[in-house]
């Protein structure tokens, strides 16, 4: 039985997947590549990804009730579609494991100094496996509830950060001599926007999900605006030099912030930990579900529960493989290149193929 999600659930799910990891090192990446005028780069990237959103939802919407493996089999034949699906499976598995590993490292550095990483990852994977075993509906509803909290949390933190902002730190807004630098750095900033390819394993229904393209495009716009605001507010507190100097910049900025008037909530990074854990949990559930479903499509004879268990154990082992934070970061960089192929190149090819076939029929 195919399970459908409502429009709102899909957009909030997308929000969780895209913002989940991208936002942690976002200010640092922007400042390194384009300085204080980075908001221009973000706008360019947002516009490009709005187009990609249209592409991906078009593909999925016109293949009603089917997910990736099924319609690529129709378009290209069994052999190529197996390769494409395997590529996606690999990408989802790697990205989920590496992101969780990075998150555990940050958690260990800032909050739980002595807890070993395998313990926190074990708890995380256990609860994620439990959530995925309840099927797509549960994940959709979980995303709906959690993403609302996360958005509220981000708005709250942004308001607090703005009370301590110094305008001088975010200027100059635009330097005309740096335009070429702004344009070149669009390539470096693709990673925070990756994540739309999760739509590929959510079956869409023409009745339930009317206007899904408009909703998704609007969501990408909002995410772009959120990125710009977070970037500007973090920059306004510390200044450029502070950002390039540190990892996990949002946590560090919140640690250095002491708003005296908020009596009980002075340690804002604890609050931020709650939101970012919720966000990451939802996104890792989605990736885990995607991997399981796609493997289930390729090998329909094995029971879903066994596949889920095996996939979780494999991801747990991958999470423990890198031996240090530096290795994790370089692995994430390599995976994001794979992500560019999965997220941009393949959908565009499929889009073109579909348009050509449609024109042939007519």
């Amino acid at each position: 039985m195919k399970q459908y999600l409502t429009n709102r659930q899909i957009t909030l799910l997308l929000f969780a997947v895209m913002v989940g990891y991208g936002i942690v090192n976002l200010p640092k990446n922007i400042v390194e590549s384009s300085g204080t005028g980075g908001w221009i780069t973000l706008i360019i990237n947002t516009l490009f990804f709005m187009f990609m959103a249209y592409v991906i939802t078009y593909i999925q919407f016109n293949n009603e009730n089917k997910i990736l493996y099924e319609y690529t089999r129709e378009l290209y034949g069994k052999y190529i579609s197996t390769i494409i699906t395997t590529l996606y499976i690999l990408y989802f598995m790697l990205i989920a494991s590496l992101i969780l590993r990075m998150y555990s490292e940050v958690l260990k550095l800032i909050f739980l100094n002595n807890t070993p990483i395998w313990a926190t990852l074990l708890v995380f994977y256990f609860v994620a496996m439990f959530a995925v075993s309840k099927k797509l509906h549960a994940i959709g509803r979980l995303a709906e509830i959690y993403s609302l909290f996360v958005i509220a949390g981000y708005l709250f933190i942004i308001c607090i950060m703005f009370t301590k902002a110094k305008l001088i730190n975010i200027q100059p807004f635009f330097e005309s001599s740096q335009v070429s630098k702004y344009l070149k750095s669009t390539l470096n900033l693709i990673f925070p926007y990756l994540g739309m390819e999760v739509i590929f394993f959510i079956p869409l229904n023409k009745n339930n999900n009317r206007n899904i393209s408009k909703n998704v495009i609007f969501t990408i716009l909002c995410i772009g605006v959120l990125y710009i605001i977070i970037f500007e507010s973090v920059l306004s507190i510390g200044g450029i030099e502070n950002i390039t100097n540190q990892k996990a910049i949002i946590f560090e900025t919140l640690r250095g912030l002491d708003v005296y008037k908020l009596e009980a909530l002075r340690r804002l990074d604890g609050l931020y930990l709650i939101f970012s854990t919720m966000n990451l949990f939802t996104s890792s559930c989605v990736f885990l579900y995607g991997t399981t479903t796609l493997i289930n499509e390729i090998l329909p004879k094995i029971k879903t529960k066994c596949i889920l268990l095996v996939v979780t154990i494999v991801e747990y082992i991958i999470s423990l493989l890198p031996r240090s934070v530096m290795e994790t970061e370089s692995a994430i960089k390599k995976t994001s290149k794979l992500g560019m192929i999965c997220g941009i190149v393949i959908p565009i090819i499929m889009f073109i193929t579909m348009k050509v076939k449609k024109n042939e029929k007519v």
């Binding site: 807890t115 070993p116 256990f126 001599s177 030099e241």
Partner: protein, 381 residues
């Protein structure tokens, strides 16, 4: 599936019983209230001093009051070492419990330590180590920190509380700009500028603010801005600077009028004219008459000359302090570099701000408006 369930349950139970790696009850930890960093008195090295909280009434005393939440007292500690790590190791050997530094209220450097070797190494330590909050206040004290923390003060619980409370209440009233470690770090990272830190001492058994300590670009103490120039420095640095002064009334030379002047807006414009840098400072103030010293009747024509005399005095003070920073301190401690960098980014990259600073031409324009006379009706027709 039943076997898997059993396996999971065993795993979880073992995790609960053997885990809790980070578990540390708050009352079984040694809470540090304030930290002071000084040069070691017996030769090379650093000395950490400060206060730890003393929890609860001692056993055997009030039987009925055990466990009530009363404000505690504190006791001081001292530890020496060749560098930070050794001093910290010596400190750890002397305390009976795990250390907890999340409740620290202030970090105080002694004058000698701030002069040499400078405070940037400790700032880096606080920002990067686990367990410290980088929103701590910093201050420089004019006596060695050991004496500071051992002094008895009459109006607060501990020296750390007194320092933080004094600095905060002054900044809320607009008389002071304090710096946290995070903000000082961002000034250090922007090379070629200095910054100002509150300078405190003990006068009359209480903590008192004695001025600003001027730190150079490598975080060493160069000079002190004294109390009478503090309010002028605030006009250049703070968002809500307030100055309360009495001015001689121009029309009646025997009359003193107390005026409260607050900063509405401050604009700093930089420009380059013929290879030399000009900076225009535009201060927009508002003044309120608080009260006259003697009762005399004034009329409306007294307002303008009063405004003008306020403007002239403030302009003179500001130019003086900037001149002092150019000639005596030789370092930009008022954050002009950021404005210049924003408005002329290309030129900033080519020059060395530290060398150019003494040659900058400053012009100051002050404009104030007397908005009210409090509730007094001192102007009659």
């Amino acid at each position: 599936m039943k076997k898997y369930r059993l396996f999971f349950i065993i795993l979880i139970i073992s995790l609960i019983l053997t885990g809790c790696w980070d578990y540390n009850d708050i009352n079984k930890r040694n809470i540090t209230l304030s930290v002071g960093v000084d040069n070691a008195h017996n030769g090379k090295g650093v000395e950490f001093s400060g206060e730890n909280a003393r929890l609860g009434p001692s056993k055997g005393h009030d039987g009925g009051q055990i466990g009530s939440a009363s404000i505690s007292s504190s006791f001081t500690f001292v530890s020496n070492g060749k560098d930070f790590e050794e001093a910290r190791a010596n400190y750890n050997k002397n305390i009976p419990l795990n250390d907890f530094s999340g409740a620290t209220r202030a970090v105080v450097f002694s004058k000698e330590y701030a002069k040499n070797p400078g405070i940037d190494s400790y700032i880096n330590r606080v920002i990067n180590l686990f367990g410290y909050r980088s929103a701590l206040l910093i201050a420089v004290s004019d006596i060695p920190t050991n004496e500071l923390f051992n002094a008895k003060i009459k109006n607060d619980i501990s020296i750390g509380h007194a320092v933080e409370d004094t600095l905060r209440h002054l900044s809320e009233e607009g008389d002071l700009v304090y710096k946290t470690i995070y903000e000082a770090n961002s000034d250090i990272l922007l090379e070629d500028v200095g910054y100002l830190i509150p300078y405190i001492g003990i006068r009359d058994s209480s903590i008192s603010v004695l001025g600003y300590a001027v730190m150079s670009n490598d975080s060493r103490l160069i000079d002190i801005i004294k109390l009478n120039e503090m309010s002028t420095a605030n006009l250049l640095l703070s968002k809500n600077a307030v100055q309360r002064k009495s001015y001689k009334c121009p029309a009646h030379p025997m009359q003193d009028i107390s005026v409260k002047t607050s900063l509405k807006r401050r604009k700093i414009k930089t420009s380059i004219v013929n290879d030399s840098i000009n900076i225009n400072i535009d201060l927009n103030l508002k003044s309120e008459i608080q009260y006259p010293y003697h009762y005399l009747s004034h009329n409306k024509n007294d307002i303008e000359p009063l405004e003008k005399s306020i403007e002239d005095k403030i302009q003179e003070d500001v130019l003086n302090i900037i001149k002092k920073s150019q000639e005596e301190f030789k370092i930009d401690c008022f954050d002009f570099a950021r404005y210049f960098r924003v408005q002329n980014p290309e030129v900033y990259k080519k020059i060395s701000w530290k060398e150019e600073y003494p040659n900058i031409k400053f012009t100051v324009k002050v404009k104030t408006k007397l908005v009210n006379t409090n509730l007094l009706e001192i102007y009659q027709e």
